[in-house]
Amino acid sequence: MVSGWQTLKTATRTRFRAWLDRRIPPARSVTLDQKRIFIFPSRVGFFFFACLLLMLLTAINYESNLSFGLTFLLTTLFIVAVLHTYANLSGMTVHGVRAQSVFPGQQAEFELLLERGKRRDHYALHVAWENSDDALVNIVEQDTQTVRLHIRAGERGWFNPGRLLIETSYPLGLLRCWTWVALDLNALVYPRPLACPAPAGISASAADGTAVMGEGSDDFYGFRDYRSGDSLRQVYWKGLARGQALQSKQYAAYADRCVWLDWEQFEGVGIEQRLSQLCFWVLELEGGGEEYGLRIPGATVSPGRGEKQRDDALRALALYGQGDTA
């Protein structure tokens, strides 16, 4: 019985989501219009109804026309509030700006931009995902308002936080007006780093790093005393002009001590574990300031170092087997 109920509930929810997806398809920017906005009396609204009923009974029993009048004024105030509450939400545009890439289990930051609809003021908008923290936003003084929400990321790959709830009960609190916005805004979740002993290729070349002198290189290395036979182009003329001894500029190239992290180096473990270990080593090498490249089936990140290199490598790992490299 319980499981039957659960199944029904799940099925209903699934169908609701599917219907919602057809009605409000995901997009990067969503402008709220009547297709997307739902409105219904709030709990306070129902309490208000109860109070109105009490007032009406008072008016009937005391046959007091003025009490009738005030009861009806409050009733129609509720009707007018429907329009005002609706207008508070409608016309506004939600932009998905940016989602932070994170490791599994971390709080991913999603940045949203709420833009007012043509000079209209929007008050007390409550913005939240199902599992995120929430924010209360007024768009009154400025045309746009940035909202940052945090939500715990799931497993490796693209993480979509689901439908964003924007609701408001402004101005009277008697009605709840809300929308479920599907934003085409995904956070990239990297593999979970997993420590492991260095694979063969890494330790061998890790110690290397001696600069190899040679002409024709582009990287300036230093000065040394002029020796006969040095190219005239190498002579540091500026120094000579200042009265220094004749010196030659020296150029150098480093030995190719780049580390390749290779899919094949991590044999004998499952795919996810392998990705996790690769991830660990990307972070490890990046931390050590080393230059590294990454080769996994379907993606190659040419050697480099720095933040961008790390992000590229982690992105490749995160998207392994996702069929989507965007």
Binding site: V44, F47, F48, C51, L54, M55, L57, T58, A59, I60, N61, Y62, E63, S64, N65, L66, S67, F68, G69, L70, T71, F72, L73, L74, T75, T76, L77, I79, V80, A81, L83, H84, Y86, A87, S90, G91, L113, G117, K118, R119, R120, Y123, A124, H126, L136, N138, Q142, D143, T144, T146, S169, Y170, P171, L172, G173
Partner: protein, 667 residues
């Protein structure tokens, strides 16, 4: 606490304002300690708000609630009834104010406030009170709006604008509902006002009662005639017919005093053209209604009694409107039944021997009953009787002897009493009629305003072949009273409304005061006729006139059509009006720049970004390279950089404007 659940300071201030606005109209009917509770509540809440005091603890709250209920019980002797309920509601409002911390409390408080506004109408339906209550509703609604404007930590009068707008938009919808909503009778009996005094003419008339009532400038009722208003001296508004004298006081016959066969008003042949009029009575907490002689009610639910007066089966607790037709010339009771004759001749034996003696001697000297009536009136005229608002007190044993032979000063009830007594003693059926005489004609809307000081008592005498004839002994003493009214009759005495120095009626000789008073009275009449006195009958008339037929389908159609007529424009204003694209200042300047460029031959394509356009423009117009670059940079800065600091964005905007200006003036 969640920021959403907090009560913004702005809302708190509006709520404290409503707190005091609510109690003001109730101030005379709540005990003094309730007002003290109010002040304490407000001070306490403000101190909590300033962080100086703490919210009350749970046990303290319990103690306060018990103390308040106990206080109401001790002040009123009961917790049932309207006044104790209102006192309890107001105290609850104040106590809730102290513990107000979350939004949930605020909702309870505000809705309670709305309810307190409703209770005010059970006491007074005055147009000014209604205006004031609407103001209170506005304050409460403003508090409700402010509650949903997070981050408003300062008093903000702007919240009132939205609340006011919404109430104004709701108002026409309310009117439709007001006139359409079916008026059904009470569903169950409810506690009534326990402490309200009965006002107006009472059914127990002792010498001195009417003169006391005549000190009051209150309105008793207003009358609107369909045709011409009869002459002032014909405006005898009959309310009570007093046939029984007991222990020195006159009273009317009660239901059980009258034998069953005599209870109904006899059918008479009406004589002359009827006078049609509507009466709106102020609440009296009594049952009698006022009308001219021989009237038939045109409204349902009114009784006609055998002594030709109208009677309401329920006490008049609210302003009550009824329509009447009268045939003043119709002879009443051409034949007198034996029981009736006996009743209208009855006199308690033994008292006032000199009065009785006088009556007998005057009758002996008269040729007929009618002649006897004239002789008695003549006696009043000749013996130097004085009509006064301040009659001396009379003894309990032989009051009429005291009056006729000793003081010779009296108000209408003295003369009526003495007259009827003498008639009965001499074997002429007679009775006292109490009601009002005259009234003020309001030139603004041609209503007759009858005040309490128009209260009057006169006599009816039964004469063979004429039936009951009205005789007003006061007319014999003070003809001015009958021709002009009380003010003129007691002019020499200077006692008119001497107890109400502030009544606008005392300043009738100041033109603008009088004009204002009469206008306000006309407004009140209209208000009573259409709003407070609106009843099932009027509703039926109105709806059948408007809708042709009264059916649920018509109701729904009218409701929907009228509501749509209001709501569609409101929705349009809310949703469409502001949709007109309002350019930001940066956009405006940039578009001016584009226009200028177009005149110079470089037209911006819709798909071109400012940067691309700038490149192209600079190639075509290298002369203005600097300006184009500066403008584009400033515009991009303003438009695409997210939320710039306000000061720097102002500077950038200024420089953008300057550059565009400069370009406009180059040749």
């Amino acid at each position: 606490m969640n920021v959403e659940q907090q009560v913004p300071r702005n809302a708190l201030i509006w709520m404290i304002l409503s707190l005091f606005a609510l109690i003001l109209p109730h101030i005379e009917r709540v005990p003094l300690w309730v007002i003290a509770v109010y002040v304490v509540a407000a001070v306490w809440r403000i101190q909590v708000f300033r962080g100086l005091w703490a919210y009350p603890r749970r046990w303290l709250k319990l103690v306060l609630i018990l103390a308040a209920s106990g206080g109401v019980f001790f002040s009123f002797g009961s917790v049932l009834g309207l006044e104790p309920t209102v006192a309890l509601l107001l105290t609850a409002f104040a106590l809730k104010m102290i513990e107000l911390s979350s939004r949930k409390d605020a909702y309870v408080l505000i809705f309670l406030g709305y309810f307190v506004c409703i209770t005010e109408f059970l006491f007074s339906q005055d147009i000014l009170i209604v205006g004031y209550s609407l103001f209170t509703v506005l304050l409460l609604t403003t508090a409700l709006v402010a509650l949903h404007q997070p981050g408003q930590q300062r008093f903000n009068r702007g919240s009132m604008k939205l609340a006011g707008t919404m109430l104004l938009q709701a108002f026409p919808l309310m009117l439709v509902l007001f006139f359409l909503f079916p008026r059904i009778g009470p569903l169950w009996t409810v506690p009534i006002k326990s402490h309200t005094a009965k006002t107006g003419m009472s059914d127990l008339l002792k010498p001195g009662d009417v003169s006391k009532l005549s000190q009051s400038a209150e309105v008793a009722f207003r009358v609107q005639f369909d045709g011409e208003i009869p002459a002032f001296s014909d405006l005898y508004w009959r309310g009570l017919v007093m046939s029984r004298l007991e222990e020195g006081a006159w009273r009317s016959l009660r239901y059980w005093d009258v034998p069953a066969a005599e209870r109904r008003m006899p059918e008479l042949d009406a004589v002359g053209e009827p006078l049609s009029y509507a009466v709106i009575m102020e609440p009296t907490q009594q049952n009698w209604l006022f009308s001219l002689r021989y009237s038939q009610p045109a409204s349902d639910g009114l009784l006609m009694l055998a002594d030709y007066r109208l009677y309401s089966p329920i006490q008049i607790e609210h302003e009550t409107q009824y329509r009447v037709q009268s045939w003043p010339q119709t002879p009443l009771d051409p034949e007198l039944s034996a029981w009736r004759r006996e009743t209208e001749l009855a006199l308690p034996a033994g008292d006032n021997p000199r009065t009785r003696e006088l009556a007998r001697s005057l009758r002996a000297a008269s040729v007929s009953d009618a002649d006897f009536v004239d002789r008695v009136l003549g006696y009043f005229t000749q013996q130097g009787f004085v009509y006064t608002l301040e009659p001396p007190l009379l003894g309990d044993d032989d009051p009429m002897d005291d009056f006729l032979f000793d003081s010779l000063r009296g108000f209408c009830e003295h003369y009526a009493y003495a007259f009827v007594m003498m008639m009965r003693e001499a074997g002429v059926p007679a009775r006292i009629v109490a009601g009002y005489m005259g009234g003020e004609i309001n030139p603004v809307n041609r209503t007759v305003i009858v005040h309490q000081f128009d209260a009057h008592a006169w006599a009816e005498v039964w004469l063979a072949e004429q039936g009951w004839v009205r005789v007003d002994p006061t007319a014999a003493v003070a003809p001015d009273r009958i021709e002009w009214g009380l003010e003129q009759a007691v002019e020499g005495e200077g006692t008119f409304l001497s107890a109400s120095p502030l009544s606008p009626l005392r300043y009738r000789d100041i033109d603008w005061v009088n004009a204002l008073r009469l206008r306000y009275d006309a407004l009140t009449y209209r208000w009573q006729a259409w709003v407070t006195g609106f009843n099932q009958e009027q509703q039926f008339d109105l709806l059948s006139r408007w809708l042709g037929e009264v059916s649920p389908q018509r109701f729904v159609t009218v409701l929907l059509l009228t509501w749509a007529a209001v709501l569609v424009p409101v929705a349009a204003v809310l949703l469409l009006r502001r949709r007109r694209h309002q350019l930001s200042p940066a956009d405006k300047h940039y578009l001016a720049f584009c226009e200028r460029m177009a005149r110079m031959g470089v037209v911006r394509e819709p798909w071109e970004s400012p940067a691309d356009f700038a490149q192209r423009a600079m190639r075509k117009l290298p002369r203005y390279r600097q300006e184009i670059e500066a403008i584009t940079e400033a515009y991009q800065d303003l438009t695409y950089r997210p939320a710039p600091a306000p000061s720097s964005s102002g500077e950038t905007l200024a420089s953008l404007r300057r550059s565009v200006r400069k370009l406009q003036f180059v040749r």
